[in-house]
């Protein structure tokens, strides 16, 4: 079996609130990602998706802390590495991320060209100005941008879709092994969404990026995007399997609820009413021993709220529900 590109092992991440309360935002998350794979991670907002991204990248800035577990890229742990080495060799080069709000992710007072140059020179001081400029033009053209114009522009002068492309371009400048895309399309309108997703596929086909983690709150979107899906709830992965399995045959009640709450344009779904998930996710400031979804679960049973739920194999996928079958 080949070494996976990204391997996350029992990762736990917490942060401290202003008054010192510990919040376990990511709890015992594990997954593997091989070359050419796209893993989709779905969950409501506030379920710890964004914290998971920082955790996977090994970027722990207070008040965010690593509690336990490991993250390996090509077999090498990236946690506990020398900070400067981590910055230069891991960030942007091994793992890159495409942020949620591309609208605000570009320094507003810097030209795109300078931003991209900053990114390159931060990793490799030796490159000449000319060389960098050529490299940028070539790359921006490849991702379908009018390189000459875009590179000279300030972020405010560009429309949202173009900005998102620029962000993708800058994030992937160093041909990273894994790209973590955190809701890359949720701020865009539908047609731009599609072209951005197509661009990501294209980058993978050309071998610029080797694998991808695609994070979204829209579970059905992943059907067209990912090869496997992990569903996240209150800091935990509650179901992890192939795309087909999770979307059409979810075994964890939350996964099913998530699918049920989505509107769909599929034929035959016309008469089906979307079902909202009542209630809110639990407050992670307090330790929870039992099932975190118990309060909102439609098929909750007597012992759920007290019994620890383990991730176990059910029908060839991992499910965190003691009653799932």
């Amino acid at each position: 079996m080949p070494i996976p590109i990204l391997e996350v092992k029992n990762l736990r991440v917490h942060y401290l609130t202003r008054f010192g309360t510990k919040v376990q935002a990511v709890d015992d998350v594990s997954f593997k990602l091989n070359e050419g794979e796209i893993l989709g991670i779905a969950g409501e907002s506030g379920c710890g998706k964004t914290t998971l991204v920082s955790g996977c990248m090994g970027l722990y800035i207070p008040p965010l802390y690593h509690s336990s577990g490991d993250v390996r890229v090509l077999g090498e742990s990236i946690l506990g590495m020398n900070r400067e080495r981590h910055r230069k060799e891991v960030l942007g080069r091994k793992i890159a991320m495409i942020p949620q709000g591309a609208l605000n992710s570009l320094n507003p007072t810097r030209r795109i060209k300078d931003l991209a140059t900053d990114m390159l020179t931060s990793h490799d001081g030796g490159a000449g100005k000319r060389e960098i400029s050529e490299r940028l033009t070539e790359r921006f053209e490849r991702i379908g941008l009018d390189a000459k114009r875009v590179l000279q522009a300030f972020p405010v002068e560009l429309p949202a879709g173009t900005k998102q492309r620029v962000v993708i371009g800058i994030s992937t400048l160093l041909n990273p092994k894994v790209v973590i895309a955190d809701e890359p399309t949720s701020a865009l309108d539908v047609s731009t969404q599609k072209s951005v997703i197509r661009l990501l596929f294209d980058l993978m086909d050309r071998g610029i990026i080797a694998s991808m983690v695609f994070i979204t709150h829209e579970l059905p979107l992943l059907r067209h995007v990912s090869s496997s899906i992990a569903v996240m709830y209150a800091g935990e992965l509650v179901e992890h399997g192939s795309t087909e399995q999770v979307i059409f045959d979810g075994r964890q009640p939350y996964t099913r609820a998530l699918m049920g709450s989505m509107l769909s344009a599929d034929p035959g779904q016309r008469g089906r009413k979307p079902v909202a998930i009542e209630g809110a996710p639990p407050d992670l400031k307090h330790a929870i021993s039992g099932c975190r979804f118990a309060e909102r679960c439609p098929s909750v049973q007597g012992d759920c709220a007290q019994t620890r739920q383990l991730l176990r194999l059910v029908g060839e996928r991992h499910v965190r529900c003691n009653h799932a079958s």
């Binding site: 320094n107 507003p108 990114m119």
Partner: protein, 379 residues
């Protein structure tokens, strides 16, 4: 043509705006002193009048009336009189017209207290002192304050815990209080430094080394009194601005890209600086006001002293001359800062409000510099 040059368009737009502001300022400058029932001349006469005989009083009153343009004159400058021999008064509007014309030509009239010195001459003797005191102090204080503020925000920890309360205190102390205490402690009790004046009394202003040495010696206390406050205020503003910038998406993204620390600090510094520039522009006028009071305390031979003596002697031409000049200077400085920001911040050029805690329509309460601003009104 302007459509294709956003920068040029911005400059012209601002220039027009400041010209209108100047017109309003000059109107205020003319009408406010004439608001009360008594004209300046009546006030002066009321002060001096009691111990003058009637003939001298009338003669003097007419000199003042002429000086203020309150009476109509023939082309040779003689006062026109009605049948009873009383001088013919000019209408307020005509006075205003004459005032506008003269002011725009740079003629600010004649001082009453120091008759027959021209107001322009008095001001040009005082102005270099004020500029030499305030310009370096404010600019230097601004730079040092911003560096300290950025340092406190970025480093945090002990540096922040020490710097922040100190800055908070110095920024809250009124300028004249610092001045009074400095004069008393260092000038009078310890006698380390001269307490009042701009140079040694035995000297005359000239371009000699000994004079410059004397002037720099006298410079220390007034400089310190203004500097301390400007530093404190700027440090506080810059600190919150930097904390805000450090929490923005673009800083997080830069970190995730693996950009080096130095570059991220530069990003933060530059972007936090832009609102600080606006703050500086808005605070300039206020600072000038406060620094004038400081000048008074140190009997520094600048505009502050000139205004003080003019106020004490009801020397209206001199008061309005000084206020007009100060207002004009503040407007020019504001204009310069506006243009500078336009050049540095692409968001302003493209007509969008810049982000940040003070920027246009941000939703959080407590816009850092915006809300602090009233307190600066007396600095």
């Amino acid at each position: 043509m302007l459509q294709n040059h956003p920068t040029l368009k911005h400059v012209f737009g601002r220039a027009g705006w400041y010209f209108i502001t100047f017109l309003v300022a000059i109107t205020i400058n003319f009408f406010l002193p004439r608001l009360g029932d008594s004209s300046p001349v009546d006030l002066i006469m009321a002060r001096a009048g009691s111990n003058l005989d009637a003939a001298t009083a009338r003669e003097q009153e007419e000199t003042y009336l002429l000086e203020f343009g309150l009476v109509q004159t023939d082309p040779s400058g003689k006062i026109l009189r009605d049948s009873a021999g009383k001088p013919l008064r000019t209408s307020l509007l005509a006075q205003f017209g004459r005032y506008l014309e003269l002011s725009l030509r740079g003629d600010l009239g004649t001082s009453i207290l120091q008759y027959p010195r021209r107001v322009g001459d008095i001001i040009s003797a005082a102005l270099p002192w004020t500029l030499a005191l305030q310009l370096p102090t404010i600019v230097l204080g601004w730079i040092v304050g911003n560096l300290l503020g950025a340092l406190a925000a970025y480093r945090g920890g002990v540096i922040d815990r020490v710097l922040y309360p100190i800055a908070l205190l110095t920024s809250a102390v009124p300028a004249f209080c610092v001045g009074i205490l400095l004069v008393y402690v260092f000038g009078i009790q310890l006698e380390w430094l001269p307490a009042v004046g701009g140079y040694d009394e035995g000297m005359l202003p000239e371009a000699s080394w000994s004079f410059i040495a004397s002037a720099s010696y006298y410079y220390v206390l007034p400089f310190t009194s203004i500097f301390v406050i400007v530093v404190g205020h700027q440090a506080i503003g810059m600190r919150s601005m930097c904390i805000y910038e450090l929490g923005t998406d673009y800083v997080k993204y830069a970190k995730l890209l693996g950009m080096n620390e130095r570059r991220i600090v530069l990003y933060m510094f530059r972007n936090a600086m832009l609102p600080q520039l606006t703050g500086l522009a808005l605070a300039l006028g206020a600072m000038v006001g406060g620094a004038l009071v400081a000048e008074m305390i140190f009997s520094y031979p600048g505009l502050g002293m000139a205004i003080l003596t003019a106020i004490q002697g009801n020397d209206y031409p001199l008061i309005t001359g000084c206020t007009l000049l100060i207002t004009a200077t503040v407007l020019v400085a504001n204009f310069a800062v506006d243009i500078l920001i336009g050049l540095l911040d692409p968001r302003i050029r493209s007509g969008r409000p810049s982000a940040g805690p003070t920027g246009g329509d941000t939703s959080q309460p407590g816009a850092a510099t915006g809300a602090d601003a009233p307190l600066m009104a007396v600095r």
